[in-house]
């Protein structure tokens, strides 16, 4: 039988239950003035003050060693923090990438000096990261990357262009995926990762890319003979591809892959409360069942990763099914409530619906397109 194992996640321990209650109280207090429209930004909300409060309270770098500012808690305890943030619409953008993938990469591949320089500041909520992977001619086909870094004494000279870098205009660093030898024809050979200081790199210019909602998250980063100190190489020169791939299961199976439109569900229920119908109950029931099962799948993958099992197939399934779910919510809401979405409305429902409709198309693009994920799943099933 072609079983695709999704082992049962462990039941919440007393510590996890206590942590969830404690953290909900923290969020209630932190987010008291946050509007539904702001909450619907989900992890595109960016607020350094909030990230610092998270760091000070010990909610960042949860699983990292204490010597690097971490808290040595379990992956499940971190998962509680992450899902509660997303469900509440907390503005996690200033620490999101750093806490989820840049920090873990530095912990895994970084030099001692890099670990000491970066990790405690990430865990304190003070250092913000972006992702430097996609290029104008290299989106899904990441191995076609052209950005070139040439070693010159104790620096790398970097030339090339990166796109879709969320918050490059706000963040402090990106991990740049680039080519340190050969040509794009060499595919994943000769690629490396560099830690690039966004505020202080001669030869780097950052330009906004405005999305269809009129919002500025994305940026283009242009490197023109930009200077990056050689000791900012992350991991081994030439091993960039393997290093990047090891991040992906973490990037693809988290609750951010099905909670992007959760604020719409919250507002929809507020609208339905007191004037619900059979149709509303049935629809909300089915949505809730899908959500509960997705959450279980995601927790199951977290358990596999905690046990160092290969979960690439499972993670791709979670992201594929999750994106379908979060993208379906605005369509489902439209079948229950007549409302004209309005991005500048004062009312909660119309403004949240607008934000969700505008942003939903990106959810099956970012972090691996639907088509790429299905290819990965098909390969996992042994078809190619």
């Amino acid at each position: 039988m072609t079983a695709i194992p999704f082992p049962a996640p462990p039941a919440d321990s007393a510590e996890v239950v206590a942590l969830r209650a404690e953290f909900r109280a923290f969020l209630d207090q932190q987010l008291a003035s946050r509007t539904p429209r702001q909450r619907s930004d989900n992890w595109y909300g960016y607020d350094r003050g909030f990230s610092r409060a998270m760091g000070q309270a010990g909610y960042l770098g949860m699983t990292w060693p204490k010597q690097y500012g971490g808290h040595e808690r379990s992956a499940f305890e971190r998962a509680v923090i992450v899902e509660e943030c997303l469900a509440a619409g907390a503005p996690v953008g200033a620490h999101w990438i750093a806490d989820r993938q840049s920090g873990p990469s530095i912990l895994k591949f970084g030099t001692e000096a890099q670990k000491q320089a970066f990790l405690p500041r990430i865990a304190a909520g003070e250092l913000s990261f972006g992702i430097g992977m996609s290029e104008p001619d290299s989106g899904s086909d990441l191995a076609a990357t052209r950005t070139k870094a040439v070693k010159d004494g104790d620096v790398y000279r970097v030339t090339g262009t990166k796109v879709w870098t969320s918050f490059a205009h706000e963040a402090d660093y990106v991990i740049l995926f680039c080519r340190t030898s050969g040509t794009p024809a060499d595919r994943h050979m000769g690629t490396s990762q560099l830690l690039v200081d966004l505020k202080n790199t001669p030869g780097l210019t950052i330009k906004p890319i405005i999305d269809l909602a009129g919002q500025h998250h994305f940026n283009e980063m242009h490197f023109e003979d930009a200077i990056v100190p050689a000791d900012m190489l992350l991991g081994e020169e030439g091993q960039g591809w393997d290093q990047v791939m090891s991040e992906l299961a973490f990037e693809r199976s988290g609750p951010e892959r099905f909670l992007s439109s959760i604020e719409l569900m919250v507002q929809l229920i507020e609208v339905l409360k007191g004037r619900d119908s059979d149709a509303a109950q049935i629809t909300v029931g089915r949505v809730t069942a899908r959500l509960a099962v997705l959450r279980r799948l995601s927790r199951s993958v977290a358990g596999m990763l905690q046990e160092h099992q290969n979960a690439n197939l499972q993670a791709a399934i979670v992201k594929d099914v999750g994106a379908l779910f979060e993208q379906a919510l605005p369509e489902i809401a439209r079948e229950l409530v007549d409302a004209e979405a309005d991005p500048r409305a004062a009312g909660a429902y119309a403004s949240v619906l607008a934000n969700i409709v505008h942003n939903a198309p990106s959810w099956s693009l970012r972090g691996g397109t639907r088509e790429i994920l299905r290819g990965i799943i098909a390969r996992g099933l042994g078809t190619r």
């Binding site: 029931g285 509960a292 099962v293 099933l381």
Partner: protein, 329 residues
């Protein structure tokens, strides 16, 4: 261990002839005797209750195997009925059993009379675990006659039963029989989807069109990926329902059951499409699974009633209470 024994039993004693006989409404006494000898009807009981004290994962695996072999006997129902009877402190079934809830029931002068709709293999059962309000009754075979014949989409019998029984015992109801039945169905659905994916992978690997195996086409690969997604959801949904039933949380059962019902339809559709016309025949084994998926997804309460139960609870929780409700499922 149990899983291996079940698999060996099915490989030995459950062939296409037996499947065809069951589709004709024929009871398979020899197969039932083997199932009973293995102790499967007791698989959901604790050791104290006379069972084997299997973990939820082991019991779930046994139930999934019933699905992945399209088991044409009410084994899952008997397991669920015994689990309920044992929890209520009533005697276990002495043979195959069913479970049901009676909504329009009268008890007068100690006689219970009612009609119970569409009970799997109702004529062949030893007893029925019947819920009435907050009471559970163990109705023996002598307590009913067939009121009306009925046939499931997989052509197994679903007669409606006219009950007329002198009540000799009752017990407090531990949980709704529909929840127990719906839970075992989620595992069966997950098992049948596993088999359907297997058949689909094998068919698309060997069937050559336009000079290459079907599954070398990207569009076919993407459908296979979607089928794998439905299987993943059904698997997780079954575990969710199983854990919820263990803590007697009917909303958790509703969530798991609803998602598995959805996966049953979506998965059957993809598997059939990927097989082409042969998947629409009785010549190919796929129909054992698709017709069972279409059967199981509508039983032990329909999709509408389960969705209303969960949805009304979610709406009552309100916007701020919604997420805490989800994390409790």
């Amino acid at each position: 261990m149990l899983a291996e024994m079940i698999t060996r039993l099915f490989e030995r004693s459950l062939d296409d002839t037996a499947q065809a006989a069951a589709r004709g409404g024929q009871w398979l006494p020899a197969l039932w005797a083997e199932v009973e000898e293995m102790g499967l009807p007791l698989a959901l009981l604790t050791e104290d209750q006379g069972g084997f004290g299997l973990s939820l994962a082991e019991a779930g695996e046994a139930l999934r195997l019933l699905g992945s072999h399209a088991m044409p006997l009410p084994v899952a129902e008997t397991m669920a009925a015994n689990q309920l009877l044992a929890a209520a402190g009533l005697p276990l079934a002495a043979g195959p059993a069913g479970l049901a809830r009676a909504d329009d029931l009268t008890i007068s002068n100690g006689r219970l009379t009612s009609t119970v709709a569409r009970v799997a293999w109702g004529e062949q059962l030893d007893c029925l675990a019947l819920a009435v309000g907050d009471k559970l009754y163990r109705v023996p075979r002598s307590g009913w006659s067939v009121a009306e014949a009925g046939t499931a989409l997989n052509f197994h019998p679903r007669p409606s039963l006219a009950l007329d029984w002198a009540v000799d015992a009752e017990a407090a109801l531990p949980w709704c029989p529909l929840a127990g039945g719906a839970t075992v169905r989620t595992y069966q659905i997950a098992g049948a989807l596993e088999a359907a994916l297997d058949l689909t992978l094998s068919h698309t690997a060997t069937r050559v069109q336009f000079g290459k195996p079907l599954q070398k086409n990207q569009v076919v690969q993407h459908e296979l990926a979607k089928l794998a997604g439905e299987l993943a959801c059904a698997t997780a949904a079954a575990d969710l329902a199983g854990e919820a039933l263990a803590r007697r949380d009917v909303l958790g059962v509703a969530a798991g059951s609803l998602r598995a019902r959805e996966a049953a339809g979506a998965g059957a559709s993809i598997a059939t499409q990927m097989h082409g016309a042969i998947g629409f025949t009785r010549e190919h084994r796929l129909h054992l699974y698709t017709t069972s998926l279409w059967t199981w997804r509508d039983e032990f309460g329909g999709q509408v009633s389960w969705a209303k139960l969960l949805g009304s609870a979610a709406i009552a929780a309100g916007g701020p209470g919604y997420w805490p409700m989800v994390t409790a499922l």
